[in-house]
C-alpha cells in the first residue's frame, strides 16, 4: 500500500514537473506546479510530517501559487518565444541533465544503507505540537529573524510595485 501510494504520487509529481518545462504558456506551468505541490504534500504525510504537509498546501499551493496566478492574469503577456540557444539546450541539455541525475542517484545509493524502509506511522513527532515546541524553544531566534524578513519583504514589495523605476 505504501509503495502504491508513493509510486502514484511520485509519478504525479514527476509528470507535473516535466509539464512545467514543456508548456509554453505560464498559466499551464503554474497549474502543473500546483500539482507537484499537492503530490508532495501527500508524500510529506507518508513521511509523518503532518504540520509540514498542511503548511505545504496552505502556504505553497494556496498563497504563493495564487500570487503567481494573479500576476500571470494581471500581466496577460501570452506565450513565450524560444530563442535559438534554446534549440541547442534541447539537444545537449537533456543528456547532460540525465547524466547529472544519474550521478546524484549513484551517490545516494552508495552513501546511504540500502535496506532502510519508510513505513507510514513509524515517525509520529511531526505534528503541530512537536514542531511548535522545537520552533519556539530551540529555534526561537531564527523564527524572530524570519518574521523581520517577512516584514522587509512586505514593505519592499509594496514599494517596488507602486513606484516607477527607470
Amino acid at each position: 500500500m505504501d509503495a502504491f501510494l508513493f509510486l502514484t504520487f511520485a509519478a504525479i509529481a514527476v509528470v507535473c514537473g516535466i509539464n512545467i518545462i514543456v508548456q509554453t504558456h505560464p498559466i499551464s506551468s503554474a497549474l502543473s506546479l500546483v500539482g507537484v505541490m499537492g503530490a508532495l504534500a501527500v508524500l510529506y504525510l507518508m513521511l509523518g510530517a503532518e504540520f509540514i504537509a498542511a503548511a505545504q498546501m496552505i502556504v505553497y499551493a494556496g498563497a504563493i501559487m495564487v500570487l503567481f496566478v494573479f500576476v500571470i492574469m494581471v500581466l496577460n503577456a501570452g506565450g513565450e518565444r524560444l530563442t535559438k540557444r534554446s534549440a541547442y539546450v534541447r539537444i545537449f541539455g537533456v543528456p547532460l541533465m540525465a547524466m547529472f541525475l544519474g550521478l546524484i542517484a549513484f551517490v545516494i545509493q552508495a552513501a546511504l544503507p540500502r535496506g532502510e524502509m519508510v513505513t507510514f506511522g513509524a515517525f509520529t513527532r511531526g505534528g503541530p505540537a512537536d514542531v511548535g515546541r522545537a520552533l519556539f524553544t530551540q529555534y526561537l531566534l531564527p523564527f524572530e529573524v524570519v518574521s523581520v524578513l517577512i516584514l522587509i519583504a512586505l514593505i519592499g514589495a509594496i514599494v517596488l510595485a507602486r513606484k516607477e523605476i527607470d
Binding site: F51, A77, R81, V118, F123, V131, Y139
Partner: protein, 102 residues
C-alpha cells in the same frame, strides 16, 4: 514489513531538483523561470523531510518551514519586480531585458 525504500524519496527529490534546473536554464519567460526556482526549493524540502524521518528528529521540518517562509518572501518581492519590469518594458522575455549588458 511493507514500506518504501528511503532512497526512493531522495531520488525523487533529486529528480524534482534537476527538473527545476532544466526549466531554469531552458525557459525564456521570467515568470516560468521563477516557478522553476520554486520547484527546486520543493525538491530540497522533500529531502529535508526525508532526512528528518531517517534521523527521527524534528529539525528537518523546521528547516522546511523556514524554506517556505523565505520562498513566500521571495515570491512577493520577485513578483513585484516582475510587475515593475513589465510596466516599463511591456515584455517578460529575459532576452529582451538586457539594459545592464553593455
Amino acid at each position: 514489513m511493507s514500506g518504501v525504500p528511503l532512497n526512493w524519496y531522495l531520488i525523487l527529490s533529486a529528480i524534482l531538483f534537476c527538473l527545476g534546473i532544466a526549466g531554469f536554464l531552458y525557459r525564456r519567460n521570467i515568470i516560468t523561470i521563477f516557478m522553476s526556482i520554486e520547484l527546486m526549493l520543493n525538491g530540497v524540502n522533500l529531502s529535508f523531510v526525508t532526512f528528518s524521518y531517517k534521523f527521527k528528529q524534528v529539525d528537518g521540518h523546521i528547516f522546511t518551514f523556514f524554506v517556505m517562509v523565505v520562498a513566500a518572501a521571495e515570491a512577493a518581492v520577485g513578483l513585484a519586480i516582475i510587475l515593475t519590469v513589465f510596466k516599463n518594458r511591456q515584455t517578460l522575455q529575459v532576452d529582451d531585458i538586457n539594459s545592464m549588458k553593455n
